[in-house]
Symmetry: C2
Subunit: 475 residues, 2 copies
């Protein structure tokens, strides 16, 4: 997808030199081949272009970049691990990319206060590992964790598989450090769980997709590391049965229920067919599956999980179930889930949605969306899977077998329209965890409260009056 | 305390009539005796005055009030249960009070999605009870719960005794409905746990103390009702030992640890001396006490609590402990804690602080503050108690025995200054859960990041350009 906006002003050689002086010669990238990894993304869905990638090494350098960019009205696109799914990190119109990846210092780990202060470029997995080393848990977990960064996670308010118990990225940040469009630095870092001194500025920048400023560091919450983690894979008849099992699980395990993923059989089939070393832990034949996990600081997770499954079997909700016997099995269960997105590619075109509805509405949503999509494009194959506990379904639609891929993909927005209509009727969201970026920007005004859109525009104008911060994204 | 601002414009009889027409005759209060309960507060610390109290019954009426007020530049003070502790709900300069208490409808309870949509005037205790009736928990809990309202709880981002496990009020709201200064209505109600469609407007109004708009309703999270709640009262030597016990407790119980309150012996003594039917559950003589509670969806809370206390005894951290044997004992333990604020009044003047520091810094904070305060006012009696698990201490100072109360109270800001200097040096907050209101307004610019203050002013100007929403509060 190429998103064309009014052309950005040409960068003069003198201005490039000024930017280069801020970050130092080797960290101002101008060679086209070196720039390429910053302008495209893994799925090959978005292709941008840029004359200059800046790789600052400190907050002061980011501030100097923003100040200079403001003075010359140069548009900037902040970028972390370049794993975003909505084109938010791509320079669609020749903007200067500001890559935060070099700012990868973990400034402090405080086990007494259970906080960790990371710079924006720290890779999520590195943050997880550092927490584990001090016997703590940093619970944010998602497919791209090996390459996505804390700054990107916060700018997009990432969700993932542990949000059920620990919340989304927003809820894991106690404070942030932000460089504003004009180069001012907002120090809202904080180790405090309670701080009622004025307006909540932190949450304005979290989830703003780099359009209001650049998050350069954050103080994150750490949690006690669970002593016992137990994982089950369950076969059942329908999303409605899965919802009943969720209810039983929450009553039994409360916040110990750390994941509850719903998987359609077709999603499982794709993963088994196309993933390497992926297998279905149960004999095939169930129309739906649930992958669920309990985490506990005590040794009661196994007993709780067994009690949940026993009740599920007794009530006729669970048709079959297996509990991972060891870490290897547990990882195999998760591999089946983690391969699910990638496994759709070999099946041809896939039109993707990242929606949420109230948890109780998920079964109706899936039924209605399936019917509407198949009516619109006969033979198309809905592949719903995702975080049932959060009401968040990755409602993807694969092309008909043997059909024309380009023809199918050309109907992206048409399919969106049908699906989003159902989402909105149910009080849901067209972007649960991936954000708006450019992919859903044009839909936003139609689905959002009018006053909310007005306020968003006012906030944008207030914080970025020149419109240089990630222009054309979100709004 | 009387806070004098430039006089509000006089309300003409015609304008009063227009306001009256919006809410209906009996809900426009103009009689001085009927107005009095809205202009003073329980502790008798703040005394305001107002010509008119409006009691709207719907969001549409609130919107009409704001629109009319905007047109005539009439300042408004939104008010819930009038239990705020920083003068935020008081009309210090003759503003019109908008009392939300009549808007007390629980619009919806959705047990499948675990949400409850309450209007602003719903009493916190009523919300708790409604959740309990459907076998759920609404965990927000604080001293004033019998009279404070959901709208006020959110506007002040209330904390309380369950924030350790469930977070502060901000974290319990999925969405809000807000009337803006000009009468526009923002519908950001939502049952969604994940929604990444644009900027986080919800958190801008939560904690803004009514200075950016009036919260008229909110969608709140419900949690599974714990099956077992176990409460212990522990005697120990110091805040440092209490911190060690907190660490043991978090490792053992993780999120099942729902309260962890630190109590100085003098706070316990006051409560026993002045409270009705309050007794110390342990033989006196311990310099410090901890009141801690575990809540679990399974029957393991008692075993976990016993394991924690056993380890604490073994390590020489716990000197004595008692577990509540039944609900009556549990309530008696909490009564000792709940009476603590009121019990300071009979001891004469009390200069109060509601501070937070990183959890690990609490012992040093108490030691340094005690030394500094007693040095400043020999014979003054520090009475620290509060939410150790959140790093939030109500650091109150009672006057010297037999001293002059007025003379002592006149040194309020001097004592503040000494205490706040220590708080700031430790990276803490001068208002952990009570807010800024007028009480700490003048200190705010000295303790807050300069850029943060600039942004707060910009946000205020953007949302309330005429300055009619709770003027003189926070900023």
């Amino acid at each position: 997808m190429n998103i064309i906006q009014p052309a950005a002003p040409q960068l003069s050689p003198e201005l490039i030199e000024k930017f280069r002086n801020i970050v130092g010669g080797k960290y101002a990238v101008t060679d086209a081949a070196d720039i390429a990894p910053y302008t495209t993304e893994e799925r090959d869905l978005f292709h941008g272009h840029s004359p200059l990638v800046l790789r600052p090494g400190s907050t002061a350098e980011v501030a100097a970049i923003c100040k200079l960019a403001s003075e010359h009205r140069i548009a900037l696109v902040p970028q972390g691990g370049n794993t975003g799914l909505v084109g938010g990190q791509t320079p669609h119109n020749g903007e200067v990319v500001v890559s935060l990846r070099r700012m990868d210092r973990i400034r402090e780990v405080d086990t007494a206060s259970n906080t960790m202060t990371c710079e924006a470029g720290v890779i999520l997995q590195v943050a997880q590992q550092r927490a584990a080393e001090v016997d703590r848990l940093f619970p944010l977990s998602l497919g791209a964790e090996g390459s996505c960064t804390i700054g990107g996670n916060l700018s997009t308010n990432a969700g993932g598989t542990a949000a059920l118990a620990y919340g989304v990225a927003r809820e894991m940040a106690l404070g942030v450090e932000v460089v504003l469009a004009d180069g001012r630095m907002l120090n809202a870092l904080s180790k405090l769980k309670k701080d009622n001194t004025g307006y909540d500025l932190r949450n304005l920048f979290i989830g703003a997709e780099g359009t209001l400023g650049i998050i350069t560091a954050a103080t994150l919450k750490l949690f006690p590391k669970p002593r016992a983690v137990e994982t089950a894979y369950v076969g059942l008849k329908s999303p409605a049965q899965a919802l009943k099992l969720l209810s039983i699980s929450q009553n039994e395990a409360a916040s110990s229920l750390t994941s509850f993923e719903l998987l359609a059989d077709i999603a499982v089939d794709f993963s088994v067919r196309h993933g390497i070393d992926v297998r279905n832990p149960l004999p095939a034949g169930h129309p739906w599956y649930v992958l669920m996990e309990l985490s506990s600081s005590r040794d009661d997770a196994r007993a709780a999980l067994e009690a949940i499954l026993a009740k599920g079997l007794e009530d006729g909700i669970v048709d079959d179930a297996v509990i991972a016997a060891n870490l290897t099995q547990r990882q195999a269960f998760w591999k089946l889930r983690d391969e699910m997105s990638a496994a759709q590619k070999p099946e041809g075109g896939s039109i993707k949605h990242d929606i949420s509805v109230p948890v109780a509405a998920v079964p109706d949503f899936i039924a209605e969306a399936n019917a509407a999509v198949v009516k619109l494009i006969p033979g198309s194959r809905p592949v719903p899977f995702g975080h049932l506990g959060d009401g968040n379904i990755h409602y993807n639609v694969s092309q008909p077998v043997g059909g024309d891929t380009a023809e199918f993909m050309a109907r992206w927005h048409e399919v969106n329209e049908v699906v989003f209509a159902i989402v909105l009727r149910m009080g849901g969201s067209i972007s649960a965890e991936h954000g708006i970026g450019v992919l859903k920007r044009d839909e936003l005004p139609d689905v959002k409260d009018k006053v909310a859109i007005e306020l968003m525009r006012n906030i944008k104008a207030m914080l970025d009056p020149l419109g240089i911060m990630n222009p054309g994204k979100v709004l």
